[in-house]
């Protein structure tokens, strides 16, 4: 996703009352995170499960939260998502960078990248793929879907150095 649209996406979600951006950095999402860092609104955790825990505490305090991570971290977090976020129905938006979308990506991303859509489907986490063309409507969908429960926005990695 282009730099300009990642930044617009951050500012749009922020303007729609998403107050907390907690996560573990991912290069696919670096412009989104950079925009939040510039505004001093990013909290970086040591692991994805920890980030989800912190965001859950914020959501329980009636403050809207987004958790960003790479899909490798999403795989780390399956148990936390099912036994905390989904079990208690805690409102939350996940923003997940999808490495291994391209079969030519680095080897460590291939296997987990391949099963990413299956993992989302298996745990029943509603998701949308965000693209340069549809970022605003994807965000509007996520804002609506996360009013009473959780959902995910997925950003595909379309190139790699």
């Amino acid at each position: 996703m282009k730099e300009i649209n990642q930044k617009k996406m951050y500012n749009f979600l922020s303007s729609k009352n998403v107050k907390n951006f907690v996560g573990v950095p991912d290069s696919t999402l670096k412009y989104f995170i950079a925009e939040g860092l510039k505004k001093k609104k990013i909290l970086i955790a040591t692991r994805e499960e920890e980030a989800i825990g912190i965001a859950a505490g914020m959501s329980l305090s009636n403050s809207r939260s987004l958790v960003f991570m790479q899909n490798a971290g999403f795989a780390n977090s399956l148990s936390t998502i099912t036994s905390l976020v989904q079990l208690y129905k805690i409102p939350m938006i996940f923003l997940i960078g999808w490495r291994g979308y391209l079969p030519s990506d680095a080897p460590e991303h291939i296997k987990i990248g391949k099963v990413q859509p299956i993992l989302l489907k298996t745990i029943g986490l509603p998701s949308r793929i965000v693209k340069d063309k549809n970022w605003k409507e994807s965000c509007l969908w996520a804002l609506k879907s996360s009013q009473t429960s959780s959902c995910a926005l997925i950003v595909r990695r379309m190139s790699h150095e």
Partner: protein, 182 residues
């Protein structure tokens, strides 16, 4: 002093403060000893009570937030101490009931009998209190009420066969009551 004895002492000397309690026997004990809507009982997601407590503390700076954690629990999310120590929430009191074992799963050992987690926490900007004594515990609870956090109270406890009753609220009820109480 075992887990439920020390928890009784602590909750007797607290009012209606927010408590996030770790999964397993810790939440069950709290439910049996001092049930109230401002308790967030965790079921599952082991390790995350201090992270949930941190999120609540950051959003409610005027309220004291207590975390009831276990040694096995914090060891699963040790990075949480780094995040809490770097943010330094003034209103977070992190109580660890330390019996050097995973009591909820059958009493398997943890490494807190050889590793002193309070020493690590001290380097990470926590104010540290440690005791295995009832009178001293009461004093610590009172002394820390007006002290700026993050505070760690390590309560060294003995193992026990006493188990609190199962929480009979659904997770969604726990959440609803908790949110309404704030």
């Amino acid at each position: 002093m075992n887990r439920s004895e020390s928890m009784k002492i602590i909750t007797e000397h607290l009012g209606n403060e927010i408590i996030v309690s770790a999964n397993g026997f810790i939440s069950r004990d709290l439910f049996s000893i001092k049930e109230k809507p401002s308790n967030f009982y965790m079921i599952g997601s082991m390790g995350l009570s201090s992270s949930i407590g941190l999120g609540i503390a950051l959003k409610n700076p005027r309220k004291k937030i207590y975390v009831f954690d276990g040694d096995g629990n914090i060891l699963m999310n040790f990075g949480s101490l780094v995040t809490i120590g770097s943010i330094k929430p003034k209103n977070l009191i992190h109580i660890i009931f330390d019996n050097s074992s995973h009591e909820s799963t059958g009493g398997q050992p943890t490494s807190t009998n050889t590793i002193q987690i309070e020493k690590v926490a001290k380097v990470l900007n926590y104010k540290i209190f440690k005791t295995n004594n009832k009178k001293r515990l009461i004093k610590i609870i009172h002394d820390t009420k007006n002290l700026l956090g993050p505070i760690m109270i390590l309560v060294k406890i003995t193992k026990s066969k006493q188990i609190g009753k199962r929480i009979d609220f659904t997770p969604i009820e726990i959440k609803k009551r908790f949110m309404e109480s704030m």
